[in-house]
Symmetry: C2
Subunit: 207 residues, 2 copies
């Protein structure tokens, strides 16, 4: 199975392919892609080969075929439903992001413990009390949870999500979550990203 | 200079050190840190050695000394002023995040092109018209820009920021920004993170 860095590059390729489709370009070369993103051409060829797509001599890769292969590989050709846990600042921003639809992610409900938020809507997504999550997860067959609640509540709420059948957690909190073996946890680490920026500023080094 | 993965782990160590300080623990061993975050003890020792701090036999690392060394290394012991460019959903969430103060980041002004946002405040931060940025950057000696505007405006606005003396950009847009050597660009790639999550869900593999 392809490496994590390969998987992480795929959305960038998808954005470019979408641009090329809009410009009615039907083929693209790995060299063009490599130049656009300052990558090694051999790296791009390996990434695309991992999608099972071969380029045609002199023409390159078929844009539509490659787009479908990447969408299929990521499972973004089917919509996955997700719950948002923590309808605060960050949760609201994520709820309002129309770009997630391109990635096959559909936030269907939000949950919170703050009485003043329960029953309201953030960008059309209804906010339910947290206690309702297990029942709704069962009825709607939702297995993905997006965690945007305070760090202090992160681990205990994760335990509750796992009990309710959530098997994949997109973690925006700074906490390293402990979850049983079959549960996927992918952390967005803003503090790590800021650390890299801050250190570069301090060293005045280009990244 | 330490590797990027080492730099990315430092905020996690800082959170733990803060917890230990609150519990009046004065020393911590690299083994304890390694167990807490499922890291190799040798990795933790190498990371801490890069901070120039040596552990004491049987006692371990002094919590306060280690905290100061990491804060110093990242430049988080001094506040850096930053501008927020794009006062929309995501920009507002970042503006409202009190956690940035722990990382020495102080958002002092926001900028937008939307007339209905200019002159308002998002979490106490005033929204200025984009044209005012060069003048304010000069007067306030601000060199960091946080980019939360639409992808279509990302590159041209970056060019304008660089002209205005911004030398470090924290990029939340999905665009790979081109900037002159000497300008630091650190991208937060939410789509890449979601790609990893989606692929794991599709493969049903634990990360
Ligand atoms: N806002 C940002 O830019 C930002 C940046 C980095 C990290 N984060 C992280 O994202 C998380 C959310 O940050 P925020 O700024 O949106 O905070 P916030 O305080 O605005 O929102 C948190 C929400 O979670 C709710 N909540 C509390 N306990 C809960 C529980 N057990 N179950 C469900 N909901 C619960 C609160 O009522 C609130 O609505 C935090 O962990 C924070 O560290 C946020
Ligand atoms: N919201 C999210 O959860 C999320 C997730 C992933 C990525 N992003 C990225 O973050 C960026 C912002 O997303 P959003 O959801 O906040 O969008 P948004 O539309 O809510 O906000 C964008 C803001 O930027 C302003 N703007 C437009 N052109 C500008 C310019 N030239 N200079 C300054 N401001 C300008 C708009 O007036 C608006 O206020 C986008 O690039 C998006 O792809 C957002």
């Amino acid at each position: 199975t392809p490496s994590l860095p390969t998987v992480r590059r795929l959305p960038t390729y998808l954005r470019l392919l979408k641009e090329l489709q809009d410009e009615k370009q039907h083929y693209v070369s790995s060299t063009y892609i490599a130049e656009r993103f300052q990558l090694e051409p051999i790296q791009v060829r390996k990434d695309l080969a991992a999608m099972g797509i071969v380029g045609q001599p002199r023409l390159g890769f078929a844009v539509t075929e490659l787009t479908c292969a990447i969408m299929q590989f990521l499972g973004w050709n089917n919509a996955s439903e997700a719950f948002l846990i923590g309808a605060g600042n960050l949760g609201s921003a994520l709820a309002g992001y129309s770009g997630f639809a391109d990635y096959g992610l559909n936030i269907v409900a939000a949950f919170d413990v703050d009485k003043s938020k329960i029953g309201t809507r953030i960008h059309d997504i209804k906010v339910f009390p947290l206690q309702k999550l297990p029942d709704l997860a069962l009825r709607l067959h939702v297995h993905i949870g997006i965690l945007t609640l305070p760090a202090a509540a992160a681990q205990t709420t994760t335990d509750m999500l796992v009990q309710a059948g959530i098997t994949a957690i997109w973690n925006f909190t700074p906490v390293k979550l402990m979850a049983p073996k079959g549960v996927i946890v992918e952390k967005v680490d803003l503090a790590a990203s800021l650390a890299v920026l801050s250190r570069s500023v301090k060293e005045k080094l280009p990244l």
